[in-house]
C-alpha cells in the first residue's frame, strides 16, 4: 500500500474520532434550536456529562452505567435550561452561558472533593471504558486492496459511541422530518402561535426538544471521558460544544449538512495534528493556530452571508408567552 493511502486513511480515521462529539452535539443543538430555544449550553452539558460518566464508571466499573449517568446529568442541565427559558421566559443566551460556567466550575469542584486528583477522575480500564469493536468480516477482507483497508481500518475498529453518533444523524433526520413530533417541533420554532392555536402545548414540545438535546450531549460527554480518553480532565470539552454550534449553523440547521460541517471541522482538526511542523508546497508551514481558528472564521463568513445564507428558525431566542 502506498504511503499516501496510509496517511489518508489515518487522517480520516482521526477525523471520525474527532468528529464524533461534534456530531452528537450538533444534533443536540438541532433539536433545541429548531424548536426555538438557543442552545449555547452544549459545551456545559457535554462537560457535565463527561464528568458524570467518568465518575460513575470509576465507582461502578461499568461503562454503560457511566453512559447512563452522563445522559441523566446532561438531561438535568437541559431541564434547568428549559426551566429558565421556557417556564420563566429568561434570556436563552444568558441561561446557556450560566450552564457552561456552572459546568466548568462544578465538575472540577466536585472532582477534587470526591477523587482528590486535582479535578481529574481515576484512570479507567477494562469494562469501565468503551473499547473499539471489530465489525464482522474486518479481518477477512483486510487483504483486499484499497476497499479492504478502508473497511478494516476506517469503518471498523471504533467504539460503540462512534457508531451511535453516526446513527444519530439519520435518526434525527427521520424524527425531525418524517414524524408528527418533528413537524410540530419545526413549526414551534417558526411560529409558536400557530402551534398553540392548533391546541398543541408549546411548552411541552420545547421541553421535549431540550430533553433530546440533553440526551445527545450526555452521550457526547461520555464519549470524551470514557471512550476517547480514560478519565475526566478539567475543561476537557475545550470548546467542542461551540464548534458543534458553529457546525450546526454552518450546516444551516439541517442534519445532513450539519453532519458534513462536523466532518469538515473534524477533518481540519485532524489535519492540524498531522501538519504540525510540516511545510506545504507553495504556502509553506501553516500555523496550527490558523487551522484551529478556521471553523470559527468559516462560520463567521457564512453568517455574514458571503457563502450562501444561513437562515435561523424564525422564533429562535424569543420566549413564548400565551397571553399577549
Amino acid at each position: 500500500m502506498s504511503d499516501f493511502m496510509l496517511i489518508a486513511i489515518s487522517t480520516l480515521d482521526a477525523t471520525i474520532r474527532v468528529s464524533t462529539p461534534l456530531i452528537l452535539c450538533a444534533m443536540a443543538g438541532l433539536f433545541s434550536e429548531r424548536s426555538g430555544i438557543v442552545d449555547i449550553g452544549l459545551e456545559g452539558k457535554m462537560l457535565a456529562g463527561a464528568f458524570a460518566a467518568a465518575a460513575m464508571a470509576a465507582v461502578t466499573g461499568s461503562a454503560w452505567m457511566g453512559l447512563g449517568a452522563a445522559i441523566g446529568v446532561s438531561i438535568c442541565m437541559a431541564l434547568l435550561h428549559g426551566f429558565a427559558c421556557i417556564t420563566h421566559k429568561g434570556n436563552q443566551v444568558v441561561s446557556g452561558l450560566a450552564i457552561n460556567i456552572l459546568a466548568s466550575g462544578l465538575t472540577v469542584t466536585l472532582g477534587i472533593a470526591w477523587f482528590h486528583q486535582g479535578g481529574q477522575t481515576p484512570l479507567l480500564s477494562g469494562d469501565a471504558r468503551f473499547f473499539s469493536i471489530d465489525l464482522p468480516g474486518a479481518l477477512a477482507v483486510a487483504d483486499v486492496p484499497v476497499l479492504g483497508a478502508i473497511y478494516t481500518q476506517l469503518i471498523s475498529g471504533h467504539n460503540a459511541l462512534v457508531y451511535i453518533a453516526f446513527v444519530t444523524v439519520p435518526v434525527t433526520w427521520w424524527l425531525v422530518y418524517q414524524t408528527r413530533f418533528g413537524l410540530r417541533l419545526r413549526a414551534v420554532g417558526e411560529n409558536p402561535q400557530a402551534v398553540d392555536t392548533a391546541g398543541i402545548s408549546v411548552f411541552w414540545l420545547r421541553y421535549r426538544a431540550v430533553i433530546c438535546a440533553g440526551i445527545l450531549c450526555g452521550i457526547a460527554g461520555a464519549y470524551l471521558s470514557i471512550a476517547q480518553n480514560a478519565s475526566f480532565i478539567r475543561e476537557m470539552s475545550a470548546g467542542k460544544g461551540y464548534i458543534a454550534l458553529a457546525a450546526l449553523i454552518f450546516g444551516k440547521w439541517r442534519p445532513k449538512t450539519a453532519l458534513l460541517a462536523c466532518l469538515l471541522f473534524g477533518f481540519l482538526e485532524a489535519l492540524t495534528v498531522r501538519l504540525e511542523g510540516v511545510p506545504l508546497p507553495l504556502i509553506g508551514e501553516v500555523p496550527a493556530q490558523l487551522m484551529q481558528a478556521t471553523p470559527y472564521i468559516l462560520t463567521v463568513v457564512l453568517l455574514a452571508g458571503f457563502i450562501g445564507k444561513a437562515i435561523a428558525p424564525k422564533a429562535i431566542g424569543i420566549p413564548y408567552s400565551k397571553e399577549r
Binding site: A84, V94, L97, H116, P287
Partner: protein, 371 residues
Amino acid sequence: MSNKTLPTWIDVGVIPLINVCLAFLVSGFVILLIGESPLEAVQYMITGAFGYAEGIGYTLYYSTNFIFTGLAVAVAFHAGLFNIGGEGQAYIGGLGVGLMCMSLDSFMPWWALIPFAIAAGAAFGAAWAFIPAYLQAYRGSHVVITTIMFNFIASALMVYLLVNVLIEPGTMSPQSRVIADAAILPSMKDVFAVFGVNIANSPLNIALFLALICCVLVWLLLWHTRLGYAIRMIGFNEQAAVYSGINTRRTIVITMCISGALAAMVGINEVMGAQGRVLLDYVAGAGFTGIAVSLMGRNHPVGIIIASLLFGALYQGGAELSFEVPSITRDLVVVIQGLVILFCGALSLMIKPTIEKLFMKFFAAKESANV
C-alpha cells in the same frame, strides 16, 4: 401587560438582592455537598477579601478588571446587544496596550505614555468588536454567535503572536518582554507613599481610577447625551428608534465599538499595570465575569461598581479559601459566578410575580384601610 407596577426600589433593589441571595444559598449547598461548612467558608472568604490590607488590595485589583468588562457588557445591553466577546476584546485590547508600551517605553514615562496606551488599547478592542457589530448591523448575522467565534479567533491569534512574534528572544515561555519600569503604571502603594501613607503591597494600581472615570463617562454617555438616548431607545424598541429617525445600524456599530474599547481597558490594568507584559490568557475569564457583574448590577454604573466589588472579593476570598481549606479550590468561585448569572440573568423574572403578589397584598390592604 398587567397594570401592577412595583416601585423602583423593589425592582432595582430588593429583587436583585433576593436573586443574589438565592445564588449564594445554592452555593452554600454545593459547599455542603463536598463536605465542608458553608459558614466557615464564608468566614474565610470575608477575612481573605477584607480582613487585611493586602487582601483588600487584591480585591480592588480584581474589581478593576470587572468594572471594565461589566461596563462593556452593560453599554451593549442598553442597545439590546449581548456582547459575549468581552474576553476576546480585552485580550486583543491588551495587545494594543502592550504594543504601544513596548514601542514607546524607552522614550517616555508612564504619565506621558498612558494616553497613547489607552488610545491603542481602545482602538484594538473596538476593532475586534467592530467586525461582529458590522456583521450584525449590515449583514444580519447575530452578534452573540459572532462574538463567541471571535473569542476563539482572538485566543488562537494571541497564541500565534506570543509564540512566534512577540516572544522574548532567548526564553521559552510564550510572553512578551517586560515593559520598562518607568512606563509601568505606579502601584497604589507608590501613590500612597507620596502622601506618606504606607499600605501593603498588591497588584492594585492607578487603573482603578481609570475604571471609576469610565463609570462616570458611561453614566454621562447613556443618560446625558444624544447618542446615549439613541442607544437606550434601540434597546427599548428598535422599530420606534427607526421611525424616530435614528440611524440604528450606525448606532449599533458605535455602541459595540465603545463596548469593545471599555473591555480593552483590562489591558491597562493588566499589561501596563499588574503584569507589565503581554502574556498568555491574562484576561483569565474577566470578560465572562463582566456578564455576571453587569446582570447583577442591573447595567448601571453604580450597580456595576457594587457587583465588581463583590466579585473581586469572591476572587480574592476564593483564593484565600482554597489556601485554608484544601478540598475547596478557586473553581468554587466559578460555580458561584455561574449561579449568579443563572439567578440574576436567566431566572431574574422567576420571583417577580411572587414579590408582586406580596406587595399588592400588603399595599392593597393599606390602601383599603385608608379608604
